[in-house]
């Protein structure tokens, strides 16, 4: 095969080869152009602009003139509240990994392939994901309710003897947990769906073979199903981490990062500075730091964890 192709190439006129390549390139360029233009205008340009503004002390009105260099970045990295926001983001990431994803995985395994009414459960579990974040947040605010005497959740849990009503969103050490519950409620269905799709890609023959070889259900799951699901799990974990780093609307609506920064995340911190305090230069710097964190994570994750899978 290879020899024949080399012959073909050798038989071509020297100029012809270049001509075809150029023509191909032109075609490719034309097809890519719309996407590239949109990408540049709506993604690259704003990022560059944001980095530019992050070097100024700028209030958002008129053009930026007050150049402060890296001053904003120094301020960010020495601000205790921003460090706390990063910490809170990390807590959400860790909790998602430790609780939300395992729940989704277990449910996906349980729903399996043969359960009756599988489609029904899948739809219902997926439903919270379809809701907009704003609606989810408002709904849960009513459920938690600022007044512990009125909230639905408090009404239910106080039925259990010895349990007292709490102001879920008003207590410094509860608020992040309360928000995590909402995040889990909203996103577990999404991850479950990813896992279910992954499960469907595992050929039944492999599992049958394992069963014939005498594996019990637990061995089957730990030694066959999970390893074969590896790629899917890594993808879902990746999405979960990025999602956790970017949570905004839900938290902003429910607590605005409060009380007293107890549920402050990088995104709410950025919003507060940009659009409440109008320190847009500083806000841009925060956004740039967020971008860097997400970018570094992304690259590191791909480098370290994404290995070739058993299945394509």
């Amino acid at each position: 095969m290879k020899a024949k192709r080399d012959d073909d190439i050798a038989r071509m006129e020297p100029g012809e080869n270049r001509y075809i390549k150029l023509k191909d390139r032109l075609t490719i360029t034309w097809f890519l152009l719309p996407a590239i233009v949109l990408f540049l205008i709506f993604l690259v340009y704003p990022i560059v602009q944001s980095i530019y503004y992050s070097l100024f002390d700028w209030k958002g009105f008129g053009s930026a003139v007050d150049f402060v260099g890296l001053g904003n970045y120094i301020r960010i990295l020495t601000d205790k509240i921003f460090l706390k926001a990063i910490g809170n983001n990390l807590i959400i990431v860790v909790l998602s990994m430790a609780i939300q994803l395992p729940i989704a995985l277990i449910l996906a395994l349980m729903v399996g392939r043969k359960l009756r009414g599988r489609g029904f459960f899948r739809t219902v579990f997926f439903m919270p994901y379809i809701l907009s974040e704003v609606i989810t947040a408002i709904m849960w605010m009513f459920l938690y309710n600022a007044d512990p005497d009125r909230g639905f959740i408090n009404a239910i849990i106080t039925l259990i003897p010895g349990v007292v009503a709490r102001a879920w969103l008003g207590e410094l050490n509860l608020v992040l947990l309360a928000i995590f519950v909402v995040l889990t409620w909203k996103y577990f269905g999404f991850h479950m769906l990813i896992y279910m799709a992954g499960l469907q890609n595992i050929p039944t023959e492999v599992e049958e073979a394992a069963l014939i070889d005498g594996a019990n259900r637990r061995q089957l799951i730990t030694h066959v199903t999970l390893p074969l699901l590896g790629g899917t799990i890594r993808t879902s974990a990746y999405l979960s981490v990025l999602g956790s780093l970017q949570v905004f609307a839900l938290v902003w609506i429910m607590t605005k990062g409060g009380p007293v920064n107890a549920s402050e995340l990088m995104s709410t911190y950025m919003y507060r500075y940009s659009f409440i305090r109008f320190e847009l230069g500083y806000g841009s710097a925060v956004a740039t730091v967020m971008l860097l964190i997400a970018l570094i994570f992304s690259l590191a994750y791909r480098r370290i964890l994404v290995k070739p899978d058993y299945l394509g």
């Binding site: 209030k59 958002g60 009105f61 008129g62 449910l107 349980m110 729903v111 359960l115 009756r116 009414g117 029904f120 459960f121 219902v124 579990f125 439903m127 919270p128 809701l131 408002i138 709904m139 849960w140 009513f142 459920l143 309710n145 600022a146 007044d147 512990p148 005497d149 639905f152 009503a165 102001a167 969103l169 008003g170 207590e171 410094l172 608020v175 409620w185 607590t255 605005k256 409060g258 009380p259 007293v260 920064n261 107890a262 507060r272 659009f275 409440i276 305090r277 109008f278 320190e279």
Partner: protein, 450 residues
């Protein structure tokens, strides 16, 4: 089977939360729909009128207000309808936003450089920022014409002034003070406190009687800032503030630290309703107070209107008293923290928008607003509408105030105002010391002004 059971349970959980969440909101949604319908009616009416007469060039302008209580929003709709009937070429596009939504939405359009033509403003630092950025229209010439300003307004106009130019007019000016529930006070056998010491004792007595002394929507942050600002005013007086503001002194000086300490004394009594840190003024704290679940609430002149819309029964028991004195403080007993509402004019507004602003500043309009508890009069001749005892008390307080300080978060630009409110919340949560709070505020002011 077991699996199906488990899944059914999770299903029930997921779905029921959806249903409960949505049903809680249903009642309010109905109100909103009604309001929207009213607004639509108004729009269709004006369209009919426009087609009848075509002499003048049609003019359209936008108007954003923050009256969400139905009767209050109706005042504006009626005024707009009347004005459009008299001026058929004018078409007013009215939008009523909830307070916090308004601020968020306004931020966006201001950044985009496209302000609405007439919109809600509290004057002060935020307005000055807009004016500096050239986003507002200077209406000084209109105010001078026919002596509109001098013949109309009794107070409040200066809040809308920057460098001898006026950008809007007030429609309401009042002061912050304590609203209290007379029934609960007599139940606990307490009188109106006149000193901060007495106030703390009152809270303790109320608490001992099983009554929540104070409702507060500290999730909004500004309601708590009122306490700190008032204490600073009572302790440091006008001189204290001016020294700090002129940068001869600083906001980390003694009066401001002592204000935080006095506030911490109050917080230590735990006098607030449970969950106050996440409660907000409009949806939570005002409801707690109006339903008689707390004895006092520190709020502005708009309190009565809100309480009435929540629970009309409260009006018979509603009392008002000024913020108590602090022993040894430099401030006078009637010095006041306050502010008001007004409308300012966006840079691209047509003359008709200013004419309309004049139209809604009429005595009749003021009387209607005062009657609904949505304003304290700023227009000559509207004082007659002050019928409620509480309104009279506030008006008296306002007239006696020798030193009148606009709320700090409006007086300063947003970058400082937000820092003030955010940090004072730290005292309420017990996470920050009075010194830290004063220092954080000083840092923000220094960065902004030095």
């Amino acid at each position: 089977m077991k699996k199906i059971l488990i899944f059914s349970l999770i299903t029930v959980f997921t779905v029921s939360i959806l249903l409960i969440g949505t049903s809680c909101k249903a009642e309010e949604a109905v109100e909103e729909v009604e309001e929207a319908e009213e607004a639509e009616e108004a729009v269709t009416e004006e369209e009919e009128v426009v087609t009848e007469e075509e002499e003048k060039e049609p003019v359209k302008f936008t108007w954003w207000h923050i009256q969400t209580v139905a009767e209050q929003a109706l005042v504006w709709l009626d005024l707009a309808d009347e004005f459009m009937a008299e001026n058929p070429h004018v078409n007013i596009d009215i939008t009523g936003y909830e307070n916090e939504n308004f601020k968020a939405k306004l931020t966006t359009v201001m950044q985009g450089g496209e302000p609405p033509d007439i919109f809600q403003s509290w004057g002060g630092g935020t307005m000055i920022e807009y004016a500096k950025a050239g986003l507002l229209r200077d209406i000084t010439s209109f105010l001078e014409e026919d002596n509109w300003a001098s013949e109309t307004f009794t107070t409040g106009l200066s809040a809308f002034k920057y460098q001898d130019k006026y950008f809007g007019v007030p429609r309401d000016m009042g002061i912050v003070g304590f609203w209290y529930n007379k029934d609960l006070f007599s139940q606990a056998g307490v009188d109106i406190p006149t000193t901060w010491e007495g106030f703390l004792e009152t809270c303790q007595t109320l608490k001992d009687a099983g009554i929540t002394p104070i409702a507060i929507g500290e999730g909004d942050k500004w309601p708590g800032a009122f306490y700190w600002e008032y204490l600073a005013t009572r302790i440091g007086g006008e001189e204290g503030f001016n020294a700090a503001y002129s940068r001869a002194g600083s906001f980390a000086d003694k009066p401001f630290v002592e204000a935080g300490e006095a506030l911490a004394d109050l917080v230590a009594l735990n006098p607030f309703q449970s969950g106050f840190l996440s409660a907000v003024w409009e949806a939570d704290a005002s409801v707690t107070f109006a339903n008689g679940d707390a004895a006092m609430i520190l709020q502005g002149q708009w309190g009565a209107g809100q309480f009435e819309s929540v629970n009309a029964d409260i009006m018979d028991k509603l009392g008002w008293f000024p913020f108590p004195e602090v022993e040894g403080g430099a401030g006078g007993p009637y010095d006041a923290i306050g502010g008001g509402n007004g409308f300012i004019i966006g840079k691209d507004a047509p003359d008709e928008a200013v004419e309309f602003l004049k139209y809604i500043s009429s005595v009749d309009s003021q009387i209607a607003q005062v009657g609904l508890g949505m304003a304290m009069p700023v227009v000559k001749g509207a004082e007659v509408a002050l019928e409620k005892e509480t309104d009279k008390l506030i008006a008296e307080g306002l007239s006696k105030a020798e030193y009148y300080q606009l709320y700090y978060d409006q007086f300063f630009a947003a970058a400082v105002g937000s820092v003030i409110n955010d940090n004072i919340q730290g005292i309420f949560a017990g996470t920050m010391t009075p010194e830290q709070v004063a220092q954080a505020i000083e840092d923000a002011v220094a960065q902004e002004m030095d």
